[in-house]
């Protein structure tokens, strides 16, 4: 079966039995009223058998929050703080400086190429894997997950091994005076490799769970393959698809390790935004570095919001449409 090497948002919410309802009050336990909604005044008197004593709860919650604060919240806050510490003016200057703008342009270009390609692949792979039975299907699925298990540095290394001047296709590259490694094409290739599985991984479990009945109905009603895909399948998976695209895009824009290997690190030419952040940091231009980093942070926030929205939408849809 498939190995999932990263948390998938939407499949999880599609598979959850329950609402976002206080777990103590889930319908799964028919024992009665929710302790979280205990009536005022009787708060500490009765405790359900499956409920932990208040001091335990408070302790565990505190420890968990402390852990998360130290590891998540503080670093996140630091980014925002450091970015705007010098004032909005400085922030704006750092972000609109020519090299920064060039990095932004390059990042957008790379994303604009790799995301559509991988989305197309993701849809094709999901269609193939979830709508047909054939030998090697599970192998195919595992292979799709492969880039997840590969270090991004190795991904970059592959591009060098292929297209570097001493690489396998080195002679060909030199003969045709094409620059792939240490140039923009190399960055695109490395990014495509690294962001390869994202759309497929969101779509496959979701489409598997949905089943093929609607598509079969469409087929019997006379629809062609393309009509089935566009009129029945894609509308049904639109939120999963959207989230997959957003994840793919976030990774494409934020990729660092692979691009670091492949890029020529030429300022203003072959630096993406993450690389630019690194350069500024190494030059001790901390405020500028964090200022540019805040753009990527914003991207992460958008991704997180998208995840919540998508999960919510999928849950809402499965409830209203669910009772088949």
């Amino acid at each position: 079966m498939t190995v999932s090497l990263a948390p998938t948002a939407v499949a999880r919410s599609a598979g959850e039995r329950q609402e976002d309802v206080p777990p103590e009050a889930t319908a799964a336990s028919p024992t009665g009223p929710s302790p979280a909604a205990s009536p005022p005044g009787s708060a500490a008197r009765f405790r359900l058998a499956t409920e932990d004593p208040p001091w335990v709860r408070r302790l565990l919650v505190s420890v968990a929050l402390l852990f998360l604060a130290a590891f998540l919240l503080v670093p996140a806050a630091a980014v925002v703080w450091e970015a705007f510490r010098g004032g909005i003016h400085l922030w704006w200057k750092a972000v609109t400086e020519p090299d920064a703008l060039a990095a932004i342009r390059l990042t957008l270009l790379v994303a604009a190429i790799s995301v559509p390609l991988n989305t197309l692949f993701g849809v094709a792979a999901a269609w193939s894997i979830t709508r047909f039975r054939f030998r090697g299907k599970n192998l195919l699925l595992s292979l799709v997950d492969l880039p997840f298990g590969v270090s991004p540095v190795i991904a970059g290394m592959l591009v060098i091994l292929l297209f570097g001047s001493r690489g396998v296709l080195g002679p060909w590259v030199l003969a045709h005076d094409v620059r792939i490694a240490f140039a923009v094409p190399g960055i695109v290739l490395a990014t495509v490799f690294v962001t390869f599985p994202f759309v497929a991984r969101e779509l496959v479990p979701f489409m598997q769970a949905q089943g093929t009945e609607e598509e079969e109905a469409a087929l019997v009603l006379g629809a062609s393959g393309w009509q089935i895909l566009t009129r029945v399948t894609l509308p049904n998976v639109r939120w999963s698809l959207l989230y997959g695209v957003i994840l793919c895009n976030a990774r494409a824009m934020g990729e660092f390790g692979a691009v670091s290997v492949v890029s020529g690190h030429v300022r203003g030419l072959t630096n993406t935004v993450p690389l630019h952040v690194e350069i500024l940091y190494d030059e001790y231009a901390f405020r500028a570095s964090f200022a540019v980093a805040s753009l990527l942070f914003l991207l992460a926030v958008v991704t997180l919001v998208a995840k919540q929205v998508t999960e919510w939408k999928v849950r809402a849809e499965s409830e209203t449409w669910g009772g088949r």
């Binding site: 976002d20 799964a28 590969v150 290394m157 093929t212």
Partner: protein, 283 residues
């Protein structure tokens, strides 16, 4: 009748159209982007003689980099298994103000570009950083030390454990816990004897996933680690250094070791997930 074999073949696959196109494109793209490049590694690695290969993969610097990468990844994954498991429990079972927000934030390390995580962690835990300044007087040095590497790898693996364990806890059957209570167990015993075994496979899976991710991690680590060879140089960085020196063979050698480890981990995760499914079915 002559159309029978064609249609039978089609029948075994499924009746929806587009098999050839979708599978063909998938295999083609997969081969082009993933398989061919990866087989290059094998190809390149096989160019070395055994002696060379062993020398390259076991040089002191290389061995140190494995120790640091794998060791810190394991330590980080272990911390995540314990604390991440705790976070999953708290999110799945308790209500507290800000729970939805915290739940959403758990995915931050997954969504945040690694370079940003890298500089953020470095800033926070450096000598003057928000947390670093409290640790400094205690003699705890985070940046430019192995501890920093462990910290970064803990950050990066956090969502994996939480998101693997959380659904298991949420879906767990409360009636089993009620049965334990009726039979006389207190909450601690119930947690230990009833709940823990249920989440164990998920926890192990989370550990393996966090470990796999951490082993190959680059961006979040290189800022805080200081990249000192033999001390805080992680394996991916060593690969990069060798590439910069045009030592392709050396880089490939280390990469092969890392890929082998990833492969083993992939298998382990596969087994663990199968075990999880079996247990879930039994319950």
């Amino acid at each position: 009748m002559r159309s029978l074999t064609a249609s039978t073949r089609r029948a075994h696959r499924g009746v929806l159209p587009g098999f050839g196109l979708s599978t063909g494109f998938t295999v083609f793209y997969l081969g082009l982007v993933v398989l061919i490049p990866l087989s290059l590694v094998v190809l390149k690695a096989s160019e070395l003689t055994w002696a060379e290969a062993i020398a390259l993969t076991t040089s002191p610097r290389a061995l140190a980099s494995y120790r640091i990468s794998f060791g810190a990844a394991a330590a980080g994954a272990a911390v995540n298994t314990v604390f991440g498991g705790l976070v999953a429990w708290v999110l799945a079972r308790y209500r507290f103000p800000g729970r939805r927000l915290v739940d959403a934030l758990v995915d931050l390390p997954f969504a945040l570009p690694t370079a940003v995580s890298g500089i953020a962690l470095c800033a926070v835990y450096s000598r003057n950083g928000w947390i670093g300044r409290w640790l400094e007087p205690l003699g705890v040095k985070v940046v430019y030390s192995e501890l920093g590497v462990v910290l970064a790898l803990t950050f990066i693996g956090l969502p994996f454990v939480v998101r693997t364990v959380q659904p298991v806890l949420e879906d767990a059957d409360r009636e089993v816990e009620e049965a334990a209570a009726v039979l006389g167990a207190d909450r601690a015993q119930t947690a230990l004897r009833v709940i823990l075994p249920t989440v164990l496979p998920a926890a192990l899976t989370g550990f393996a996933l966090a470990f796999a991710r951490a082993v190959g991690e680059y961006g979040s680590v290189v800022f805080i680690s200081g990249n000192m060879p033999l001390r805080t140089e992680i394996a991916p960085l060593l690969i990069m250094t060798r590439l910069e020196q045009f030592d392709y063979a050396g880089a490939t050698a280390i990469a092969t070791v890392m890929l082998a480890v990833s492969f083993v981990l992939l298998l382990a995760v596969n087994r663990l997930q199968a075990w999880t499914r079996v247990l879930a079915g039994q319950v």
